[in-house]
């Protein structure tokens, strides 16, 4: 976006001065941690002024519970990685199904995609939590399905639908000339798909796929509503153990926001970088 100042009388022969800071060039550097820490410290000393003599300061409380909350956050990340893996695998299959030549497969894939795309993530999560059994028996071996695994399956359902759409969109965005050229060179449909179309699509699919991962990571917090022991549940239980002191609310929730920001923001920047690198001139 060019932010040249618009002036109606145009002085002749003046050189154009582009505005500095056109694009938002903010990169998270290591020293950025310090203003954040300062803010937390300042806020907590402000909170300390309100606390009674027998209660520990807000900052002390936060530091005391930090290891537990960080463990919870790692658990969130684990859920996100697993759900993304499963969702991508199944979603890619569905996406290919949507462009299949058989009308039945196409319609079925389209229906499944639309159904899971239009459902709220939280409702699908409840669905998976309550309706999946707590263990499955395959050829006599009992495999337990713990809570977090059911939540992962629940979260992989909307991921699958979105990946299916991404794959379909990417395939459709290729010029039809590619398909026609492959046909004239006597490639079978499978060969065309795997050797020509999909390799070109991978680049186009990467930015929306990473965007989806970012959304998924933030959606893992929903698992707290269905009782999985991740960072939000732990925060609630921690606040309860501390007796529900109201001055703890803002620092603890800010800490959780900070954790997610620190993880998702670099991913967002990397996605923008990828978008520029793989920009398709159409």
């Amino acid at each position: 976006m060019n932010n040249r100042p618009y002036k109606t009388d145009m002085p002749v022969l003046l050189t154009v001065k582009p505005m500095s800071g056109d694009k938002f060039n903010f990169k998270l550097k290591l020293w950025h941690v310090f203003p954040v820490l300062l803010f937390v410290l300042f806020y907590s000393t402000f909170g300390f002024a309100d606390a009674g003599p027998a209660k520990s300061s807000v900052f002390e409380t936060l530091v005391r519970w930090m290891p537990l909350l960080l463990k919870g956050f790692l658990f969130n990340l684990l859920i996100s990685v697993l759900a993304m893996g499963v969702g991508t695998a199944v979603g890619a299959t569905l996406g290919l199904g949507q462009i299949s030549q058989s009308a039945w497969v196409r319609k079925f894939a389209w229906f499944v995609t639309q159904f899971f795309r239009n459902s709220p993530w939280l409702v699908l999560l409840f669905f998976a939590m309550f309706l999946l059994p707590f263990e499955v028996e395959i050829v006599g071996v009992k495999i337990p399905l713990p809570d977090w695994l059911k939540a992962t399956i629940g979260l992989s359902l909307p991921v699958m639908a979105n990946v299916s759409e991404i794959v379909r969109g990417a395939v459709k965005s290729l010029p039809s000339g590619q398909w026609e050229a492959a046909e004239s060179l006597a490639y079978t449909r499978t060969q065309t798909l795997w050797l020509i179309i999909l390799p070109q699509c991978v680049k186009r699919m990467l930015p929306p796929w990473m965007n989806l991962y970012s959304i998924l990571t933030m959606a893992t917090v929903l698992a707290s509503i269905v009782g999985v022991s991740e960072v939000m549940t732990l925060t609630g239980q921690v606040l309860s153990s501390e007796g529900g002191r109201p001055e703890l609310l803002a620092p603890f929730y800010s800490f959780v926001l900070l954790l997610f920001f620190a993880y998702c923001y670099p991913i967002a920047r990397f996605t923008v970088h990828l978008e520029k690198r793989f920009a398709v001139i159409s």
Binding site: L68, S102, E135, I138, G227, Q237, S241, G243
Partner: protein, 269 residues
Amino acid sequence: MKSLIKVALSGVALMALSVTGQTASADAIADIKAAGVLKVGVKADYKPYGFLDPSGKIIGIEPALAQDVADKLGVKLELTPVVSSNRMQFLEQGKIDLMIATMTDKPDRRKVVSIVDPNYYSSGTNILTPKTFGFKTWEDLRGKPVCGIQGAFYNKATSANYGAKIVAFKGTSEAYAALRQGSCVAFVYDDSAIVAKTNDPAFADFEMPLPTIDDAPWGLAVKLGEDGFNKLMSEMIVGWHKSGRILALETKWGVANTPFAKAMHDKHK
């Protein structure tokens, strides 16, 4: 066509898998001893009955009772945090073997899980409210927002019988925070927890003014059909009342001794 048949068959297989999920077993005690671990569902956000310590372990009155049962069976204890809206489901599904989670004993709940007699604890429904309001009867709550916990049975009663507008939250920390903010005039909950809260200096200007209603005993439960386990738990509960274990635990965790616990101790001495 061949691939279509393959897809259909695998779909049927998946469905069959999900149906065979539940396993039936008539003897839970033997299963527990064979597995070497007793899985108990307890609350993790209800101080002092079940809450977290900084290392993430669940501690409190009910985890202590669960440990007694595990010691009796000679197995390890595994605590699973539950909330009101999923504790019975977990027991039904077999995720936990035993549930000690502040659950009130009600007839329609006895149809879903096997509640053990005699009852191990009791409490009633009451509210925590700022002293400034001066509520005296339950009718005073009509038309006013009252905080509650999602899934509690007394929410429907409070709103249907007394016309209060229930604002239900997922956990107690959110409910207490909303109460402090003034988003609701009172918090409807078990009187035992509220009594513990009124002793907390942070809640010095809150009171529990109304007469306790629905004084209902709590029940711990096992899966429906587990008669052997039910009998074992029944003996354990009698033992707890006889030895005054419940009273001792109450004192340890800072709850005033409830009349029910005292009466049961006297009865079984």
